[in-house]
Symmetry: C2
Subunit: 194 residues, 2 copies
Amino acid sequence: MTLNMRDMIIETASELFMKQGYLATSTRQIAKKLNITQPALYFHFKNKEELYTEVLSTFTHEIGVNLNALMAQETSFYQKLYSMGDYLQRSHVVNFSMMMHDISNELSEETQFTIFIIWKKNYFDPFDTYFIQLEKWLRPELSALAASRHFLRNLSAYIMEDQNYQMMSDLDLGTMVDIFLRGIVKPEYLSQIY
Amino acid sequence: MTLNMRDMIIETASELFMKQGYLATSTRQIAKKLNITQPALYFHFKNKEELYTEVLSTFTHEIGVNLNALMAQETSFYQKLYSMGDYLQRSHVVNFSMMMHDISNELSEETQFTIFIIWKKNYFDPFDTYFIQLEKWLRPELSALAASRHFLRNLSAYIMEDQNYQMMSDLDLGTMVDIFLRGIVKPEYLSQIY
DNA sequence: GTCTATAATAGGATAGAC
DNA sequence: GTCTATCCTATTATAGAC
């Protein structure tokens, strides 16, 4: 498919914003990668914030489409969480948490509100739907929504480039999902943990 | 205790860097909060990067001291993880993951290396030590170090200001620790998750 | 639709007086 | 040690030609 310039800008800007964050990405850098001049961007977008907003909603919409497709597949509990997590890990070139920070700190209140609505629809709803289906499998003190939110939050820690020096462990999503489902403690010691 | 100007700069800069990140914090802003002029900072520190580095090592050293103190207390497995997590959540004014990103992206390679050594000593070692003590409680396929790294990574997702609109759940550390220890699935369904 | 030129602002950093 | 003055660079954004 051929992309018009507006879409190409969004695509390129998306890569850079996701990798580097909002502040560290300049409009000049985006333009340079596209072999256009920096003012040319302003024909397509009112300003940097509008471009970032368009990037976020395009990106997030794609996430939602793909998460829903994955959710529709017939797989085990483990496999489902793994494949959805794996997809998110691959699609976010880098740091989920930095993206949240940028949204909260660099965008206007109105834009934030819009973004958070889109966000909920595309990230939260697929997971919520899945956990609600499986609510009877969960320990009774956990609601489906609590489990869903905790999974996504936990997952967010695995959506970041594992930088030099292996500060954190390798990005071992399988272990994370396994611990999320079964915990770390041997069954025979469970009574002693509190 | 009275602080000299150098320490006061570190303290103020620490708040701002942790809250806003490296790029979003300007030397002018730091100076203004201290009622000194921006060039005065350069008497105490070679440049912004050196100031940030000093902030990080001071901050991290304090973390290590306090984590080790908490680790020495006699409490249950759950209580121990909760109190160490709770301490980290309180001490980091905001976004752990953004801080990692700043380290990897805004500092020189040499500085990064230094910081990561200090980091390991103060964040990782306390948790590693604790998990090694309790290794026999862990499911046999999990090593103490794997459990330790996964806990810290998971925890990092709870060390971020929960911004407007409750994107993620409330910062429910207790639920996180509980899931980490016991998992989300009812024992009778465990055989069906794979 | 994209260009050149340029405005307006803000950033980190240095020189030199006191 | 801290100040004023200032440099240099980089940023977002606009004006107007083509």
